[in-house]
């Protein structure tokens, strides 16, 4: 028996969804034109006015918004509402200069929480459930989003936030949590810990998990499902668009339904920007058609995936996106934090090291590790090991303050990092995802 939070929306006909999208897009373009001078200028440069946008078919005429725009317009430049009408900000896990601050009106929060509520109901959540939200609370959207969705469904919500594994397990057992929301790596870690404690899946009351904010594999899904004795579901979202709940998995566990009444999805060629036909693999672009305070049009996510309109057995009619298969830029997501190799490079250069480096990302104990190999140079070398160590830890401190996560610096012999013929291979990602 399929469950929907808003059945009339989630199972609406394609024509109906399109009608909503057309109407809302026209309204949204006018709203942005009237209230976001930054984007209006971009439209003017492209020679587009709101009159040119009569339906979703005209979407391709609009200019893209990129992460660079978000940086340039930081903090208020892309707002669609005055500050007095906003009630909340959330921010990405990003770092100095790359941080994204998104604004929300109460209406925006309501719609965002609706999206999260749809995800919870899709995994079988009802008001009978106890929903433990072990995503971080605070600026990160994971905790607040699922918390709000859980309230809307009427679940008993346990806002544990992330960390303190012993306490997490205590709540799961003592308060009989049935739904767990957290990152997949944390779910795997909780599972391992409970296994070590001698708990078998039938002793764990959980029945479903909603896991997002990082990429994870089918193998990892199987692992989590087996150790916790649950069904594990993916959820997708970006702070720029609201947070988790832009799309979510249903009982089929084969791709995530995009909430098309709020977000229009396109797949483009990341090189040319051209819109690709349905089913093609390319960069995912979203247009937020209901957001008031932070109304991004044609926002380039940099995530590479495919879209599918194949009929879904759950009864939902909204288009499904595949798990992101990679990114069209060089951004890495390490422990949920966005990391650009250029940030690492700037720390090295500022500290007097050469730009010969290699970033090695791996996984140990269900957590990402970040090693930065740096070649020793005559200038940085001294006979005194204490001094070398001090420089090494200075570099690690610099990386931590730039990236917001810790990195291990490994000093290697000169010329030991492979020089490639063309583009340097800066990143070795050994994570099996």
């Amino acid at each position: 028996m399929p469950n929907y939070y808003q059945p009339e929306i989630e199972t609406a006909s394609h024509e109906q969804i399109l009608a909503w999208q057309n109407e809302r897009l026209i309204k949204q373009v006018q709203h942005v034109w009237d209230n976001v001078p930054y984007y209006r200028k971009k439209m003017e440069e492209k020679g587009v006015t709101p009159a040119d946008i009569k339906s979703v078919d005209d979407l391709h005429k609009l200019p893209f918004v990129t992460k660079a725009d978000l940086r340039e317009a930081y903090p208020y430049g892309l707002m669609g509402k005055p500050l007095k009408d906003c009630v909340r900000i959330q921010s990405t896990s990003g770092t100095t200069g790359k941080r994204v601050v998104a604004f929300y009106t109460q209406h925006d929060i309501d719609l965002w929480e609706d999206c999260c509520a749809r995800a919870i109901v899709a995994v079988g959540g009802t008001k009978e459930d106890v929903c433990q939200v072990s995503y971080g609370y605070g600026l990160f959207t994971g905790g607040p989003g699922l918390n709000g969705g859980s309230h809307k469904v009427g679940c008993l919500t346990i806002p544990t936030s992330s960390g303190n594994t012993e306490r997490q397990i205590m709540f799961i057992r003592d308060l009989q949590s049935t739904i767990l929301c957290c990152t997949p790596s944390y779910a795997a870690y909780l599972g391992e810990t409970m296994k070590e404690m001698g708990l078998t899946p039938d002793q764990i009351p959980l029945k479903a998990g909603i896991f997002g904010a990082e990429a994870w594999s089918e193998e990892m899904r199987q692992d989590i499902q087996n150790t916790l004795g649950i069904k594990a579901y993916d959820i997708y979202g970006l702070t720029e668009l609201s947070g988790p709940g832009v799309s979510f998995e249903c009982s089929e566990q084969s791709g995530m339904h995009i909430n098309e009444d709020h977000f229009i999805a396109e797949i483009i060629d990341p090189e040319t920007g051209e819109v690709l036909p349905e089913g093609a693999k390319g960069e995912l672009v979203f247009t937020a058609i209901t957001k008031e305070a932070f109304p991004l049009l044609r926002y380039r996510t940099r995530d590479i995936c495919t879209l599918s309109r194949k009929k879904c057995s759950c009864g939902r009619t909204h288009v499904k996106m595949s798990k992101p298969m990679g990114r069209s830029d060089d951004m890495l997501i390490i422990r949920g934090v966005n990391v650009f190799p250029s940030q690492i490079e700037s720390v090295l250069i500022n500290a007097g090291y050469p730009a010969n480096y290699q970033i090695i990302v791996d996984r140990a104990n269900h957590s990402d590790t970040l090693d930065v190999q740096v070649e020793m140079t005559p200038e940085m070398f001294t006979d005194n090991v204490g001094v070398i160590k001090k420089r090494q830890s200075g570099l690690e401190a610099g990386l931590r303050s730039m990236l917001g996560i810790s990195a291990h610096v490994i000093l290697v012999a000169p010329k030991s990092i492979t020089r490639s013929e063309g583009k340097a291979v800066r990143v070795i990602d050994k994570r099996k995802i």
Binding site: M376, T377, P378, D383, V385, K389, I410, A413, K415
Partner: protein, 143 residues
């Protein structure tokens, strides 16, 4: 008298040390002392060789990162209790020793110790005050 020690950066992985000794062997460099200061990821190899200048040029040409470090070599009686009075004299003078290791060379009842310390003048005057002699390059057969 100052002796030139060659300090070489080595990554902590198999074969690194062998590369250095192979290069030196192929060029007929004779090693007189070896010491390694290591951490988990890397180490600093310290060498006294018969011809420091030649060895340095060869190692640089082979892509090693190195530095020349001035050290002193002290002759101590080669019997039980030979080193203790020297170190005691330095300790009484409140002199910090950064590191110390021994030469392979033994001669006429003498053993040789390499010293790297924070204050060279003080080091030499403390040794002189206690009648301890620095070895000469000639004595050690170093160029």
């Amino acid at each position: 008298m100052i002796v030139h020690q060659i300090s070489i950066f080595l990554e902590n992985r198999a074969g690194q040390l062998a590369q250095v000794t192979r290069v030196l062997a192929d060029n007929g460099i004779d090693m007189r002392a070896i010491s390694i200061a290591e951490t988990t990821d890397y180490g600093v190899l310290r060498l006294i060789v018969d011809n420091a200048e030649k060895a340095t040029n060869i190692l640089l040409a082979n892509g090693f990162v190195l530095s020349m470090t001035p050290v002193h070599v002290v002759a101590v009686p080669d019997h039980a209790g030979g080193l203790a009075p020297v170190l005691e004299a330095l300790a009484e003078g409140d002199l910090d020793i950064e590191y110390m290791y021994s030469l392979f060379t033994h001669k006429e009842g003498k053993a040789y110790m390499v010293f790297r310390n924070s204050d060279e003048e003080k080091f030499i005057s403390l040794l002189e005050a206690h009648g301890v002699k620095l070895a000469t390059k000639e004595e050690l057969g170093l160029k």
